[in-house]
């Protein structure tokens, strides 16, 4: 039901590399899971509103006032690579 090409397409969308072995295994597993999930296709859902929040809350508004955030150097401490006060990454075009 979900073939190898679809798995590779979805993996590309998810920015996820998969090994050959993973592609084969996962297409079988996903098919089984999707078959189960498709049970929701049985229901008549016309006129049923989608859930947006399970508990009724009004819009959560707050005054637009600047607040202090974490210092730049503290945040960059966790970065695998940083330079000039920013995160450093490889070039988008190799």
């Amino acid at each position: 039901m979900i073939d190898r090409e679809q798995v590779l397409h979805v993996a590309r969308l998810a920015r996820l590399e998969l090994s050959e072995e993973e592609v084969t295994k996962i297409s079988g597993e996903l098919s089984n899971i999707l078959e189960h999930i498709e049970k929701i296709g049985e229901l008549e859902l016309d006129g049923v509103a989608p859930t947006t929040h399970v508990v009724e809350v009004p819009n959560a508004l707050r005054p637009d006032v600047p607040r202090p955030c974490l210092p730049r150097e503290v945040v960059l401490e966790q970065a695998p690579d940083s330079a000039d006060g920013g995160f450093r990454v490889p070039s988008p075009t190799a």
Binding site: E17, L45, Q78
Partner: protein
């Protein structure tokens, strides 16, 4: 004090308050046990007792699931992709509890990003069940449940998205409370499925659950979905259930449930009747679709939430010559098999052409499930089920079949879909292993839920000490 470990958290707090017990001695007793943990329940244990004093919880230490951010302390969500991550801030609920006098004891093992029902999806190896080390403690808050059951923590925090507090609590013979969605701030909780995730306690008894829950609730400016709890959380006192109506879903016939679990469930209903409750059947016509809706919604939200793990700002990075390859390699090496599965299911369900058929439909099914409960609660006070269809299973028994693993969540997914609270309490043993009894009630009715659970707990008289005794032996 002769046996500090035998005290419940509430008893330990009272002993500190009365001066019988020194809070440092209490912390050290648990720190020693947590450091000696051989169930792989802990991923990190505190070095020393905190210096600060005071607070209504009197220094009773707290084990915290790995996915709560704790400043300067590893917070890896059980994932390789966050290996070594030490956040620069602390989750609101952990901070609130520390301020209330429950200092951080350690970080507990879990399924990676809370995806799993056995703790076998942890990148750091599975936690073991203290009742039988060849079996799983349940998941995803498996380390928290194992630690509390084994007496290496007086209480612990977990999170529940589809049953991740209640199911491990059931499998380890302790109490687990999933609060109403929005009752507890999610700020600083590493997200799995944001519309379902909720933090809650795993404790030795219902009183401890109420005691800690009282200090967890409240609106947080940093979580726009959090709301003020409408009343004070009180400690449960009920000994009877006179006039209380319990509803058993009419599709709960025993099919798909282990006979031993069903027997304990029926026996607990008999206990409830003895306490004055009535038991009737209720119809939840869409509950059977809960699992399907859940396994659309949770992976869809997860695929979006987990997009942030890209090797740029924190955690693992795999070097590559170009940015896209850096992303894809980092995510390939950093995520485990179950996380990859769910990211792919979620991405598929949200992809162009499929959104309406999957996510859109699942959000509508969710509305029907919430309405089913509302209708049921017009007739009954609580809906009750077994927490899990089976007792703790053997390690590896279900890892080859993801779908079989998902079926563990049958009784626990409808409540987070509806946003309502639910509690699991131990109700006896089947094949020498604990069985959980689940009660659920309308949003923000935790006080009534805890009270009813307390009355049942007192009458059942479950002895959760064998697990601790077995571990000490």
């Amino acid at each position: 004090m002769t046996d500090i470990i035998a005290l419940t958290a509430a008893q330990a707090a009272a002993a500190v308050q009365s001066g019988e017990l020194d809070r440092r001695e209490l912390f050290e007793a648990y720190r020693d046990r947590a450091a000696a943990d051989d169930l792989n329940a802990y991923l990190w244990v505190a070095d020393e007792a905190p210096r600060e004093n005071g607070g209504a919880l009197h220094g009773v230490p707290l084990a915290v699931k790995d996915l709560f951010c704790t400043e300067g302390v590893p917070s890896q969500a059980g994932s390789r992709i966050l290996e070594g991550y030490r956040p620069p801030y602390t989750a609101t609920v952990v901070r609130r509890l520390a301020r209330a006098g429950a200092p951080l004891l350690g970080k507990t093992n879990q399924d990676e990003f809370a995806m799993g029902s056995s703790n076998e999806n942890s990148a750091y190896g599975p936690a073991l069940n203290p009742w039988d080390r060849t079996r799983v403690p349940g998941g995803s808050s498996g380390g928290s449940a194992a630690a509390v059951a084994a007496g290496s923590a007086p209480w612990a925090l977990g999170t529940d998205t589809g049953g991740s507090i209640r199911q491990p609590a059931a499998l380890c013979g302790i109490v687990g409370l999933k609060p109403t969605y929005g009752a507890v701030s999610r700020f600083g909780m590493i997200a799995f499925a944001s519309s379902l995730d909720q933090a809650g306690p795993l404790t030795r008894d219902v009183t401890d659950a109420a005691l800690i829950f009282r200090h967890m609730v409240g609106h947080d400016d940093r979580d726009a979905t959090s709301v003020a709890f409408p009343e004070e959380v009180v400690l449960p006192t009920a000994q009877r259930l006179d006039g209380i109506r319990l509803g058993v879903p009419d599709d709960l016939t025993g099919e798909g449930v282990e006979p031993g679990v069903m027997a304990r469930f029926e026996a607990t209903l008999a206990v409830a009747r003895d306490l004055g409750a009535s038991v009737e059947r209720v119809s939840l016509p869409h509950a059977d679709y809960g699992l399907s809706a859940y396994y659309v919604l949770a992976p869809a939200e997860a695929s979006s939430n987990l997009a942030r793990y890209d090797g740029v700002r924190y955690g693992l990075r795999r070097e590559a010559d170009d940015l896209l390859t850096m992303y894809t390699k980092t995510r390939h090496d950093g995520f485990g098999a179950e996380v990859k599965r769910r990211v792919l299911i979620g991405t598929y369900a949200l992809s162009s052409g499929y959104y309406d058929a999957y996510y859109g439909r699942a959000q509508r099914v969710r509305t029907l499930i919430a309405e089913d409960f509302k209708t049921a609660f017009q007739r009954v006070d609580f809906v009750v089920t077994p927490t899990s269809p089976g007792v703790a299973f053997e390690l590896g028994a279900k890892t080859g079949d993801p779908l079989a693993m998902y079926l563990n969540d049958y009784f626990t997914v409808p409540m987070p879909l509806a946003g309502i609270p639910a509690i699991s309490i131990p109700c006896g043993l089947s094949e020498g292993l604990p069985v959980g009894f689940q009660l659920t009630s309308p949003a923000f009715s935790e006080n009534r839920l805890l009270d009813a659970a307390h009355a049942l707990e007192q009458a059942i008289g479950f002895d959760n000490s064998p697990a601790r005794a077995a571990v000490s032996a």
